[in-house]
């Protein structure tokens, strides 16, 4: 059932708005839509990190928020706290810290985690209180819906939804290597 449709095409494409790790000119871009309170996303994080190590300069990794807030009541504020950390240059540090602490995501926990990362925790607390990143997180979510995200985590490889089993790291790496060789499959669809 792969590539059954043009559903599952990443919109909008990766831009300077995104949270990006790795070489901007890498032949493969892996985008994850995730939720900090989703246990599957927590399981996926070390796999993604390992994949990042294995592909090295061939891979650019992008994370977008997809908080399933009805199921995960802390997920929106968690996402906003990470965006607030990004404002202080520590997006990925906060990102990892929350995935390592998925069972303590109350507002005061988020602030404490920010403090442990030597962030200005007060600024994070203020951002949560005044909701300055709410719209941004919501934009990510809406874009995810438009891209055919149907749960978390959902991955896109060079703009196309990856429906393979992400927990199979070797299989995932093979798919990414194939994408690196093939160039952009998204473009091939025209």
């Amino acid at each position: 059932m792969t590539g059954a449709s043009h559903y599952g095409q990443l919109v909008p494409p990766v831009s300077e708005r995104d949270r990006v790790a790795g070489d901007p000119d890498a032949p493969v871009t892996l985008v994850e839509y995730g939720d900090y309170e989703c246990p599957h996303c927590g399981l996926a994080r070390p796999i993604v990190k390992s994949i990042q190590r294995r592909l090295g300069k061939k891979l650019r990794f992008v994370f977008r928020n997809f908080p399933l807030a009805e199921a995960h009541p802390h997920s929106r504020h968690a996402a906003e706290a990470v965006e607030a950390a990004a404002d202080q240059g520590k997006f990925w540090e906060m990102h990892d810290a929350l995935f390592e602490n998925q069972d303590r995501l109350e507002d005061e926990d988020l602030v404490a985690i920010a403090r442990s990362l030597r962030l200005d925790a007060e600024r994070v607390a203020t951002a949560l209180a005044d909701g300055r990143y709410t719209a941004r997180v919501r934009e990510d979510f809406r874009a995810g819906i438009r891209s055919g995200v149907n749960g978390t985590p959902t991955f896109f490889v060079n703009g196309e939804r990856y429906d393979g089993p992400w927990a199979d790291e070797d299989g995932f790496v093979r798919a990414l290597e194939r994408a690196a060789r093939a160039g952009s499959p998204a473009k091939a669809h025209g």
């Binding site: 449709s5 043009h6 199921a71 819906i145 438009r146 149907n150 749960g151």
Partner: protein
């Protein structure tokens, strides 16, 4: 309509040989939405209705289709569309499921006779005895404007539904004067998934 096997999948646009296509009248039904309550489709005329058939309550958490739609209840409201989930689970099962997952829209029971409405829509997986993951966008006049069956095991997401709702004309949305139902087999061509994607 003798064979309504769940073997039709959207790789080709006419995959839905058995599934009611765009342009068809949506068969009316009255189904239980709670042990003491029921919903009648024809009573919802005047606004779009989204029917989301799905196999069963209690599928795994984060990737769950109903959980996803639950996040989108406000978006559907903005489009003045009514969202209804349908499965062969009983009203009591739905009640427990909706309560556990905090589902904010009606889940209907196609329970007795089992799957009768799903069959009428061509959305029944006979081999498994459950509804397909089949989606229908029905306009304000009761005409199906978009339908889709997801491959087995794949959560179809919500992008197709939202795109189909956006394509409705004001009349099909029920924005115009009341009592002007859209024609059953109007001039709108049945839309395939290909159309749906091309517009984005």
């Amino acid at each position: 309509m003798s064979e309504q096997q769940g073997t039709t999948h959207p790789d080709s646009e006419n995959s839905a040989a058995a599934v009611l296509p765009a342009g068809a009248h949506a068969p009316d039904f009255t189904l239980q939405s709670a042990p003491d309550r029921s919903v009648t489709l024809s009573e919802l005329r005047g606004k779009p209705v989204v029917l989301a058939f799905y196999p069963a309550d209690w599928s795994p958490v984060c990737g769950d289709q109903m959980a996803l739609y639950n996040e989108l209840v406000s978006e559907f409201r903005e489009q003045h569309a009514e969202l209804l989930g349908i499965s062969v689970d009983s009203a009591w099962c739905h009640k427990a499921f909706a309560s556990a997952r905090k589902i904010h829209f009606d889940l209907l029971s196609d329970f007795e006779p089992k799957g009768a409405i799903s069959r009428q829509y061509g959305a029944y997986r006979t081999a498994d005895g459950v509804s397909e993951r089949a989606l229908f966008v029905i306009d304000a006049g009761g005409v199906i404007r978009w339908s889709y069956v997801a491959p087995a095991g794949v959560n179809p997401g919500a992008d197709g539904i939202l795109a189909a709702l956006e394509r409705l004309t004001p009349e099909q949305r029920g924005d115009k004067a009341t009592g002007a139902p859209a024609r059953p087999s109007g001039n709108t061509r049945p839309e395939s998934r290909a159309d749906a994607g091309a517009t984005r």
